[in-house]
């Protein structure tokens, strides 16, 4: 199969407009004859479900949460980018497009990214109309701030809770359609598999998380808006429930998985404090505007510090190494996320890390407080400092914060064409669940933009083109395929419940996470990846023979829910390793130690790897097949990123 990205012909700036015109339309009276399933109710899912229902389609929306408002989009802090140029500082659609392509280290599709930048301006209009309380200037107009690497102020925000406010906006639009009867909501319901009829996605099989009932749902199209897979690492900034199961089930039914090894490691997270740790908490990137990152200059000092013989504030200026300022004098502490993360790892690997574990670096506000006063710092970061104190018990006004990188976002995901359709006709992937817009590294404040762009402004157009070519005949849920897939799901459930092994699901998840973090995390080597692959294969075998899942299917059963998810994470982990092994270059968040410049920076290989790696599942325990979608750059020049 040749991957057809369906990128429209013509100049970059006209592609989307032309494409919308060339897409077939569904007659308004016919829309009510089409059913659409939306899985996931985060930014992408809620905005898609609401917008499609407004158009007249019948929507069924599914979430494993108790309410659509809980999706992890809610936790995004910083903001949402849009090329409004309200600040008169030189922003434009092309500049947002350019920054995103470059930030992604030239591993994203030009056409998709341009469209994202183009519709970004409409997202802000939509959210304001819904009553999202964005930050305002005294004159009553919208405020902006600068963010992650951009040289213009294009980020709209609602205090430190932008994701929350945008999600509640989309949730309110969704709730309105539930009240109108155009969306039927299925909370506490998890998608277990996709059902295909004649090669098209025609429904899903779900499990009711309260009663355990395995149910089937038919539709003319299925949208997966199920987020990212960062929890494959066990510890990440993702919510506890984030998982890959929906996407992975679709993958096993024929949807190719693209660039799985592209994961984003965020430099400013609160470090791990012990084995009991269940998740990592992100501290906003904005802290690097004023905090200085350092570790002790020598191993000996670091050791004394770890043993508690000295305190951070006792260490003299000349015994400190402000390593980002030293290595990157022009960008200093404000280098992009991937560079900051990697360098923190280097100094910790040298034995100069702090905290009892040696896996942390300092983020010090002493000089900023001296320069600007405590009051100014309090105004800027007060809530973050409070949060830090609540979690660690230390006061960052008095002692330096400790931070360490953590998995935050996954740029990889289901392969989709320009219409957001996967390689399964009728099956779409939106938001973090697809791979399309961020290349090998996502810029700050761009995840919210993409989720809402896909849901509000892309899918309402592109799905029409597909549905217009699908007969408006009710999909019959009594088709034998539905009962066949439902039976497979039930078999898997009873298989998991009957293993009756000795080790808990979390035990396996933690071991998987360690393998992935050590060998497929911030730095990767061929040797380490090969070792990890063997370990994961063994772990999979062990899981299926020794996992202990208690209770029954016919009840609320958290260990059964988790067992499904971890089983899929194990398989995904192996694919991520294959992908990282295949990509013999370093780009963005993917750093292969063999491929670096003499200064230790990522070394891309545009000649051989300027492509999307899309993987096809071919069968249980078989090596997946690689398909390449070449990336063509007609509007930007590929350059080596430098932040010196």
């Amino acid at each position: 199969m040749i991957l057809d990205s369906k990128i429209p012909a013509g100049p970059l700036a006209e592609k989307w407009t032309k494409h919308k015109f060339n897409s077939k339309l569904v007659n308004p009276a016919n829309k009510r004859k089409y059913d659409v399933i939306v899985v996931g109710t985060g930014l992408a899912g809620a905005s898609a479900a609401a917008s499609l229902a407004e158009l007249g389609y019948n929507v069924k929306a599914f979430t494993f949460h108790d309410s659509p408002r809980r999706a992890h989009s809610i936790a995004a802090q910083g903001g949402i980018n849009a090329a409004k140029n309200y600040q008169n500082d030189g922003d434009s659609i092309f500049r947002l497009f350019y920054d995103t392509i470059k930030g992604g280290d030239y591993r994203a599709r030009e056409a998709n990214v341009y469209r994202l930048a183009e519709v970004s301006v409409k997202i802000i209009d939509q959210c304001v109309a819904q009553g999202v309380p964005f930050a305002r200037e005294y004159g009553g107009l919208l405020a902006n701030r600068s963010f992650g690497g951009a040289q213009v102020s294009r980020t709209f925000y609602a205090r430190g809770q932008t994701g929350q406010q945008l999600l509640l906006g989309a949730y309110s639009a969704l709730s309105r359609q539930v009240a109108n009867g155009k969306v039927k909501l299925y909370p506490r319901t998890e998608m277990m598999d996709v059902v295909m009829i004649d090669g098209h996605a025609r429904g899903i099989v779900t499990r009711n998380l309260i009663t355990g009932a395995v149910e089937t749902h038919a539709a003319h199209a299925v949208l997966l808006c199920t987020g990212g897979y960062g929890n494959v690492f066990f510890l990440s900034t993702n919510a506890m429930g984030c998982n890959v199961t929906a996407a992975w089930r679709a993958h096993k039914r024929g949807a190719y998985f693209a660039n799985p090894c592209f994961t984003q490691i965020h430099p400013t997270c609160i470090p791990v404090s012990g084995d009991h740790q269940s998740k990592l908490t992100l501290m906003s990137e904005s802290l690097r505007n004023d905090g200085r990152v350092w570790v002790p200059a020598t191993k000996e000092t670091a050791e004394k510090l770890r043993k508690g013989q000295i305190k951070a504030n006792d260490i003299k200026e000349e015994d400190r190494d402000y390593f980002l300022e030293r290595k990157y004098p022009s960008f200093g502490n404000l280098v992009p996320r991937d560079v900051a993360s990697r360098n923190a790892k280097y100094v910790c690997d040298e034995g100069r890390g702090v905290n009892e574990t040696g896996e942390a670096v300092f983020l010090d506000f002493r000089d900023a407080i001296k320069r600007d006063s405590r009051k100014v710092i309090e105004q800027k970061y007060g809530n973050l400092f409070d949060m830090y104190k609540q979690i660690t018990g230390e006061d960052p006004y008095e002692v330096p914060m400790m931070i360490y990188p953590a998995v935050h976002y996954t740029m990889g995901g289901l392969w989709v064409d320009y219409n957001l359709m996967t390689t399964i006709p009728g099956l779409y992937a939106l938001g973090e669940a697809n791979f399309s817009d961020h290349g090998a590294n996502r810029l700050g404040a761009s995840a919210l933009m993409q989720g809402l762009a896909d849901g509000y402004f892309v899918i309402p157009y592109t799905i029409g083109d597909y549905l217009a070519q699908t007969p408006p005949v009710k999909v019959d849920v009594n088709h034998p395929e539905f009962s066949k897939v439902a039976m497979e799901v039930k078999d898997r459930i009873s298989h998991l419940l009957n293993i009756d092994g000795k080790k808990t699901v979390d035990h396996f998840h933690k071991r998987l996470g360690k393998i992935m973090w050590n060998e497929c995390g911030m730095a990767r080597t061929e040797e380490g990846l090969k070792k990890a692959k063997a370990e994961i294969k063994a772990l999979k075998k062990e899981f299926w023979s020794d996992v202990k899942v208690l209770g029954a299917n016919e009840e609320l059963n958290l260990s059964l829910e988790k067992a499904h998810r971890v089983a899929d994470f194990i398989e995904l982990g192996e694919l991520m390793i294959d992908d990282a092994l295949n990509r013999n270059e370093s780009c963005g968040g993917h750093f292969r130690e063999e491929y670096q410049t003499p200064e230790g920076e990522a070394l891309r290989d545009d000649e051989n790897y300027a492509y999307v790696a899309a993987w096809k599942y071919v069968g249980e325990n078989q090596e997946e097949e690689l398909y390449k979608e070449p990336l063509v750059f007609e509007n930007v020049k590929l350059t080596q990123r430098s932040y010196k």
Binding site: A135, H276, E555
Partner: protein, 249 residues
């Protein structure tokens, strides 16, 4: 630390339920409260006993999924969500009592998990501005004074966890409902549907079986996001001025 946990166990919605006592050992002060329960659950699972079910997700204090009535207070001793509560707030040797939210409109599903879908239905009754996707004015064509936007944001911060209901002796959902009504009543975008919104949301709140407000202020005192009861006063004004001039009821 060594602790004794008295936890409400209830097999399902129709089970009567009751307390069970579990000793836990090796609790570190840096653990979050939910991580302490994770450790308990790992131990229970290893012994072949059903783990304690509780709702949780983001563990950053923003999704509103976690609940728990700890030692007689929703979300425990601090004014924060349970996921942001750490064991350093407790003493070695202490007995901690953990119950689900108790309210008629929040039936227990299992152990500490309750059904809060009543909140969704209150929002569905009118907690939105009726605009479709597309065809809206440019964002800066709706200027909003900063002070108004800030007040709206104060109300909009509600995470829908239900602590206000759990804290209230009448199990009233006034704080939750008033937060949304306030946000939209303050903003120009919410004006068109202002009256019907107040009427419909209040009616739904009553239909769900939530109690009335008797101004004890327990909701505000326990709200992890500091939502103010001035929102309830605003909602009452909105509601009364809506019903006296009602066009649709």
């Amino acid at each position: 630390m060594k602790l004794t946990l008295k936890i409400w166990r209830q097999k399902n919605a129709s089970d009567k339920g009751g307390f069970a006592t579990y000793p836990v050992d090796h609790v570190s002060k840096d653990m979050s409260f939910l991580e302490m329960l994770d450790v308990l659950n790992e131990n229970l699972t290893e012994k072949g006993e059903d783990p304690v079910h509780f709702d949780h997700d983001c563990r950053e204090g923003i999704c509103g999924t976690c609940s728990l009535y700890i030692n007689g207070k929703p979300h425990g001793p601090l004014q924060t969500t349970t996921c942001q509560l750490h064991m350093r707030s407790f003493n070695d040797g202490e007995t901690i009592t953990i119950e689900p939210w108790r309210a008629k409109a929040f039936p227990v599903l299992k152990d500490l998990v309750v059904d809060r879908s009543a909140f969704d239905r209150i929002i569905q009754a009118g907690g939105y501005v009726s605009v479709n996707t597309g065809g809206v004015p440019d964002a800066n064509e709706i200027p909003i004074p900063k002070t108004v936007a800030d007040l709206a944001m104060d109300a909009a911060q509600c995470i829908g966890c239900g602590a206000c209901v759990a804290a209230c002796k009448n199990a009233s959902a006034m704080l939750f409902t008033s937060a949304k009504i306030s946000q939209l009543a303050l903003l120009p975008q919410g004006q068109v549907e202002r009256k019907t919104r107040a009427e419909k949301m209040v009616a739904q709140m009553d239909a769900e079986g939530f109690g009335a407000c008797t101004n004890t202020g327990a909701c505000e005192a326990e709200c992890p996001k500091g939502i103010s009861i001035t929102n309830i006063a605003r909602m009452n004004r909105e509601y009364f001025s809506a019903v006296v001039s009602s066009e649709n009821m």
